[in-house]
């Protein structure tokens, strides 16, 4: 009998396991594949503060501060680098968005700075000329998520947690976790941290896959220095139901570049969609024309666990007494993993959390109006 049985060894499951183990709880983590095999491996690893909504801001900012605390102890292979994010504005309309964002962050004490066209050019000379400017959000960072997940689980293991790989959970209820071979692992509390697969265990969870493509290049150290995202991203990525692409590029510690991003709704096949890949890369070269000549090593896809209101599901699952969810993090699971784990452990230990957990409760009405 375990105190906590966690289904999923992605970064969210790993963070939850670490927090629970730190409280002295007896933890088991069940993973059908291996550590970080899902969206944790497929994603970019961008630790970013978002301002889509107050709730999104609160969770991402809280989590970012937890990342800053964790950073000093992370091993080298986690590749934590505080690159900052440059939200790139193509025109004057997007510059007004830069100013709005700047004000939003300033009011909430998030360090940011407005760059005009000339300072943007100095900061990132590979960007095409003629862009209007950017917002530089200084404390955003870049990290290599699979190794972070492994590190968190190693720490949890040092504190007595058990990590079982190759075990697929098909049932998670008040009794425990049921496997495909009919056996059950009993626990006092069960946590569904199965990411994009969370709904296959609990079909009531409003999670749908949202497919993304990424490309990684060979090594070009210093080609770009910050995470670069077009400001149109917010318009295109979240607020429409159609397939979309956006310019989003990340410098890795190795000198490689990760290029994204794409969003396709309700697609769960892993195949690479050549036409959306082409659109995604064409978009990137509109911002950085010299990208066209760089050599790409690999293209892959991943599934984000999307919810209707783009906020994760953290807390007790309706219809159960001892089953909790920590899933539905869409494209922000790396950022919000650490805060998710804190909210979860605070709820389990009946402590008052650092931020209000209400907006992420599983019972909330996730429907989006207007």
């Amino acid at each position: 009998m375990y105190d906590v049985v966690i289904a999923g060894a992605g970064i969210v499951g790993a963070a939850c396991a670490y927090e629970c183990a730190r409280e002295g709880l007896k933890v088991a983590v069940l993973e059908r594949d291996f550590i970080g095999a899902g969206a944790t491996a497929a994603g970019m690893g961008h630790v970013v503060v978002m301002d889509d909504s107050e709730a999104q801001f609160a969770l991402t900012r809280y989590s970012q501060q937890l990342w800053q605390e964790l950073a000093s102890e992370l091993p080298d292979d986690c590749e934590y680098v505080q690159t900052g994010t440059l939200w790139v504005a193509a025109d004057e309309e997007e510059m007004s968005e830069v100013r709005r964002k700047h004000q939003f962050y300033s009011q909430r004490k998030v360090p940011s700075e407005i760059l005009d066209a000339r300072s943007l050019d100095a900061a990132e000379p590979q960007l095409r000329t003629g862009l209007a400017g950017a917002l530089f959000v200084k404390e955003d960072a870049v990290v290599y998520p699979p190794c972070v997940a492994r590190y968190l689980l190693e720490r949890a293991r040092d504190l007595g947690a058990r990590v079982l790989m190759g075990r697929q959970v098909i049932r998670l209820d008040d009794e425990g976790a049921g496997f495909d071979d009919g056996t059950v692992m009993k626990g006092a509390v069960m946590v569904n941290a199965a990411g994009a697969h969370a709904a296959s265990v609990h079909p009531d969870l409003p999670i749908v896959p949202r497919k993304g493509h990424l490309l990684i290049t060979e090594r070009y150290p210093g080609f770009v220095r910050h995470q670069l995202i077009e400001l149109g991203y917010l318009k295109s990525a979240h607020k429409s139901a159609a397939d979309s692409v956006a310019f989003n590029i990340q410098p890795r510690k190795t000198g490689q570049l990760l290029i994204g991003s794409s969003r396709q709704y309700a697609v769960d096949s892993p195949e690479i969609d050549r036409s959306i890949l082409s659109r995604m890369l064409a978009r990137a070269t509109q911002y950085i024309p010299t990208l066209a000549g760089l050599s790409s090593l690999r293209v892959w896809t991943g599934l984000r666990a999307a919810t209707p209101d783009n906020l994760p599901l953290i807390g007790r699952c309706p219809g159960y007494r001892y089953v909790f969810a920590a899933a539905g993090h869409e494209g922000l699971g790396i950022t919000t993993s650490l805060a998710t784990a804190r909210l979860l452990i605070d709820e389990l230990m009946s402590r008052s959390p650092a931020i209000s957990p209400e907006p992420y409760s599983v019972q909330r009405n996730t429907a989006v109006h207007g």
Binding site: M165, I259, S275, T285, A292, S295, S296, V299, W300
Partner: protein, 420 residues
């Protein structure tokens, strides 16, 4: 982007690809031979072989010129779409979509590298790699060379290097005498059968051939200085300038896999007409199973006839193909790699050279994908072509993964190749 259309498109201009292309071109049909090297010949033939003493090479290379086979050299196939019968091809300054009625994959094989202490030192090379370098002009005369690994290639390489003036100190074959004898390949102290088969016996006069011997370590500071061999229960060590190691060949299946072709035993699965599991895609040569030049030529011709619908001419060659396949199977069994080779790497020996990943970091991983994600093994420019097969041998993992592009490709190539 340019668009090209041919009746038969052949990928790979080694023996299999060239013979297939000749068969097609001889009937007057439009054929295109695509190859990533600067000139046709594959890993085994070179342009100068057209006028050389290797009669097979000169025969086929001349024939290719005689029938004016259309060759696109320096071109890499980076992607494909079997549904539209198209492949995408990148050259130094262009990208083109090439449509086919029939596609023949003759992508050949590469050398299998197994890590041992010192294998990454300069002047430690693949056996075929060193031969290729010497063929393209690297001076070897008077240099001390040890050739090691497994299989008939070692004899060919040893003979060639000796012919070029190298001092071949030893040829170390990991298979034991008893094993070679059991498969009818060797008699005490000389691999007569093999040397005869490859007409190398005289060329290897006075070169010590040690069976049951393998490289324990390559020693040296910044460059190779000495080689330590294990010969059954003893050690043999000697100073040398080059170490050429080849543990056999690995079929280049990446393009076939990305097109959806089914595999069997790590090779592309084909029927008697060299047809793969994907309609209108055929495969010939080492990619369907390691078997040597004769088998590759035979399969290439059959694939050529098959592609143009000439079943009768293809069937004429079946019995010859079967004979070569039988011999290839016998070789495979005789040269099966011994267990000891799995234990050669030390903790610090690099398994992945692109990303500098040591044996110690890879060994605890649960599988290939976990090793890639957690250690970066296989994530470098070779896309796991070198360390993948090594990890497969060392750890018994399935190291196949097919992610486009098939080879590193320019970003603009990935933008342009889609039909808009």
């Amino acid at each position: 982007m340019t668009g090209i259309e041919r009746e038969v498109v052949i990928v790979g201009a080694g023996p299999a690809g060239i013979s297939a292309a000749c068969v097609v071109a001889e009937t007057g049909r439009s054929a295109l031979l695509i190859d990533d090297n600067p000139s046709p010949g594959g890993q085994i033939w070179r342009e100068q072989d057209r006028h050389g003493s290797d009669w097979q090479a000169s025969h086929w290379l001349r024939r290719m010129h005689l029938y004016r086979v259309d060759v696109m050299s320096g071109a890499t196939v980076i992607d494909g779409d079997p549904g539209r019968r198209a492949i995408v091809c990148e050259t130094a300054n262009s990208v083109s979509t090439i449509r086919y009625k029939k596609l023949i994959l003759a992508t050949g094989a590469r050398e299998l590298f197994l890590p041992f202490p010192g294998w990454t030192l300069p002047n430690v090379m693949g056996a075929g790699g060193l031969q290729a370098l010497v063929k393209s002009g690297m001076p070897i005369s008077g240099k001390r060379v040890v050739v090691a690994g497994s299989g008939p290639l070692l004899l060919a390489v040893g003979a060639y290097l000796k012919g070029q003036g190298a001092r071949v100190l030893a040829i170390a074959e990991q298979a034991s005498w008893s094993r070679l004898a059991r498969f009818g390949l060797g008699l005490p102290k000389q691999p007569y059968k093999l040397a005869e088969t490859w007409q190398l016996k005289r060329a290897l006069f006075r070169v010590p051939y040690r069976a049951g011997a393998w490289v324990e370590a390559a020693l040296g500071g910044t460059v190779l200085e000495r080689v330590r061999l294990r010969v059954s229960h003893r050690y043999w060590e000697a100073p040398c300038d080059y170490l050429a190691v080849g543990y056999g060949l690995v079929p280049n299946i990446e393009l076939a896999v990305s097109l959806g072709c089914q595999l069997s035993g790590g090779c592309v699965q084909v029927d008697s007409m060299q047809q793969t599991s994907v309609p209108d895609i055929l495969c010939a040569g080492e990619t369907t199973g390691i078997g040597g030049v004769e088998l590759a030529l035979m399969e290439g011709r059959i694939a050529g006839f098959s592609a143009i619908g000439d079943r009768l001419n293809a069937q004429w060659l079946f019995s010859d193909r079967e004979r070569f396949r039988r011999f290839a199977r016998r070789l495979q069994k005789a040269f099966t790699l011994r267990e000891e080779l799995r234990h050669l790497p030390s903790e610090e020996t690099l398994v992945c050279r692109c990303e500098d990943v040591s044996y110690r970091r890879i060994a605890p991983m649960s599988g290939w994908r976990a090793a890639k994600l957690h250690t970066r093994c296989g994530m470098g420019p070779c896309q796991g072509r070198v360390c993948g097969p090594a990890a497969e041998f060392l750890f018994g993992w399935n190291c196949q993964s097919a992610r486009p592009p098939v080879f590193p490709a320019r970003i603009d190539s990935l933008i342009e190749h889609v039909d808009k």
